[in-house]
Amino acid sequence: MTEDIRNEDRFDPLRRYVPLVVWMLAALVIVFTALKIIGYGYLPYDDALIDAAKAISGKSWQDILVLGPIYAIDHHFGWHWLLVQIHAMLHCTTDGLVAFEVVTLFLVCCGLPLVWLKRPEAWLGILVFFFIWSGFLDRVVDGRPLIITMTALFAVLFLWQRSPAGPGWREGTAIFLLLVIAFFLHGVWYLWALPVAAFFLAQQYRWGLWLAAMVAVAFPVSLLMTGHPIELVSQTVRLALHVESVYVMPNTRVHEMRPTVPQFIAVLVLAGLAILRRLAKLDALPFHRSPAFWLAAMSWVLATQTGRFWIDWGLPGLMVLAATDLQLFLEKTMAVDSLKRVGLAACLSVAVYAVATDDFGGRWTHNLRTQYLTPDNPDLQGWLPEKDGIIYTTDMSVFYQTFYKNPTADWRYIVGFEPAYMAPADIDVYSKFIMSNGDPKTLTPWIERMRPEDRFITRAPRQNTPDLPKLEWNYGLSGIWIGRTPRPVAGGTVPPTVPAHSERSTNAVPAAPSAK
């Protein structure tokens, strides 16, 4: 072990505090990063919004969406239950719940690995590197329960690194509880076959068997906690069989389920680790004996079919692999109480904070410009759906944003968070629209079904009135057109709609925020 003993005698009494200071720096920077990001006014763009709205609405998904027969029970029962409890305790709004989701899940996922590492600065180094290129940062501020699953995966892989011979009762209990929580809050228990397979491929049979057993026990426990064990399993299986027939082409899937080109930089990372191991002569387990490596490799390949395999399973694997190698390197080059550790941790903390809170491309502030459809906007009077109406749209973001701002509204949405849950006839219309690159003609079945209380909502610039002349249109908000079935105009009264090209009181340009 290399030691830096020169000229530091007078600082020797301070050395005992080095590990503590490094830990505090690492923990603090993760807390401040989360708070800074949410402090921008950041909102995720998808599921976190509707999870919060669902918790506040007190309604079932059947009362929120026009659903097909495949959907019977809330697939995120546990997560919504948790949010309902928090809402009941804190009486927070949807904004507050989303902030809670984002901050808590970020802290859990980025902070908990510090517990399992002897050198927390190694984790900071990994965060800096992976925040920049991998999409991990975007994922970990999503505010979605999948982050709990990622955290459990980190736990399993880090604990394996600490006790490769097999888990003790403490590790076993911790992993069991994390698995139960992950299954209860997020589901997707079946994908844990991937880490189990990774352990077997790495010839870590003891851990593989043990993890498989844990999954097998934790799964029914989590099902029982939902109160609907049979329905949930049945729905999951039916959905899995149904999805293949729904998604004729990959481009009709939601973005994160589409195939991706595997990230080339992941290969560079592996090459870099191999070089580091060789140059620094690290006493690391060969790649092929590491389940983290196998998990990353399998997920990298599977991402060619569905991108989420890589981002949710492969990236954590690669991060654990890199973090443990970096930790070995740091242990070899710096004593545990070396003052240089403080300098390194300080530099890495600054880098983590700078890289993560960097508002690159407006990623943390883009939503400040979002305009929402809300009934308290006088410009929209008469243009939002009426009681028991349906919002027809092909744009999921319309659902996310409108439900988020109107959790208790008494209308439903034709498209929600997952097209596969739609009624078969609606899936057909939606798929044809996507496959035809947005040809309005494909929407005819919906237009013909529309009732006076329903609305069609689509995004287009002010000058482009949607090409659906059976409806009358209003340029509701910047970039959003609302269509409804034409209203009879009483003689001598003003038509209910105003030409889009005229200057009028609707669609007022919202005031931009000013600098503080």
Binding site: Y40, V128, F129, F131, I132, W133, I265, L268, G272, I275, L279, C347, V350, A351, A354, V355, T357, D358, D359, F360, G361, G362, T365, H366, L368, R369, R462, Q463, S478, G479, H501, S502, E503, N507, A508, V509, P510, A511, A512, P513, S514, A515, K516
Partner: protein, 504 residues
Amino acid sequence: MTEDFSGSDRYDALRRYVPLISWAIVFLLLLVIPLKIVGYGYLPGDDALRHAAKAVGNKDWRDILVLGPAYHFDPNWGWHWFLRQFHLAMHWDAEALVVFAVVMLFVVGNGSIVACLRRPEAWLAAIILGSLVYDLSSRFLLGRPFVLSMAVESMILLIWHRRREAPASWNNILWMTPMIALAVFLHGVWYLWALLIGAFFFAQEFRWSIQLGVSWVAGTFLGSALTGHPVESILQAIQLAIRAVGIHPTQITIVEELKPTGGEIFTLILVGGLIVLRQLEGLKLPALTRNPIFWMAAIGWILGCQTARFWEDWGMPALLVLMAVHLEAWFELRFVVDSFKRLALVAALAITCYAVTTTDANSRWTNHLGWRFLTTDNPDLKGWLPEKGGVFYTADMSLFYQTFFKNPNADWKYVLGFESSLMTDENFKVYHGILWNFGDAKGYLPWADNMRPEDRLVIRGARNGPPNIPRLEWNYGVSGIWIGRLPRPVEPGTAAPTVPAAAQ
């Protein structure tokens, strides 16, 4: 040391020319590259145009822009004075001045750095890597005086590298002070030199840090004094920097080069590559943590996560210097100074450097050939350009750059110039509202309300429809540009003053 002795005895007499030829190739290349690019007809997209126009027009910025309270003094006084001298001496127009600025800054900037190296080919290799990863050549060819600051920063770092093993001499102040003074005079932004002092400090080069600090203070006062307004120029530079960033509540509406970089992953990869090179080849170079070049790159990289220019103007040049000194050490280890192999290496690097920098990928050197300028000599624009004393309203900076460039002596003013923080508070509020609302035509209404008959509102847009501001009459002036003015009274029996956009 590796040597190439094999069968080359009869050419031994020629070996003495290898260093000379190498230097000649490199300097020739540094001249040929900008000439080739300028030969495409290349024009930079931003400040170089207004610098040249300012030098030609020789008007005060108050006569060119509608300025707010933040403006007191030309922030680029030295550079404009310098260009003005060439305009007067050579009678060059704005275009010739831009060409001169582009070529001169590239040659002087790179040439001064190369002069500080023992192996000039190392800089070629660094330029190649930098161009592939960062589109570096575009930055070097913007024709803006920041290239001089980049060059001075790089020279100071390289000279430190040469002398790092000797005790830091106070004589360093004698050469650093005039260099910094020159950079401050021609470029301004005197305060950013504190970054370089910080880099030396973090590298524990405390004597150099102090000497640089003294040179900075002296150079700043000297450079500012040369403008004739030493106090105002120093104070205004700080005020403008604070206002330019602070006036925008989010990064969304700020100009591109002040936006964050998002971190540059290839920077980490390049530094990783250098570390591997050091280890594998056993290069005798100072540890990175004791190297101010590394610290300058690191500081620039971190601060670039807030504002890209920290990285582009300060961090990236330092990284290039870091690469160059590593490659130089490697070349010295692998190639004898008068080796023919070295000559082959220089030739190969020169060809690659030429190819990489002059390639017109994505039309980067020729895209402006499609620009359409608003000029008074265009008969289609008669009556559609601002009149005497008029104001040119626009929320698009490129319209200011291009129109001022082509009309340096025009007698109208622009509501938006090269820096939105110089606008009046009311105009900035309107400008910000337009950007915030994705250019929605309604955002322009406060300007439209204030317009006088001599003013014009200019907006980029496609021919298929004028901007949705029907209180103005519109003309599709040149391709992609709509010009609006207050409606003119039409005398009975005369044609309408505007032509429908759909008409051919």
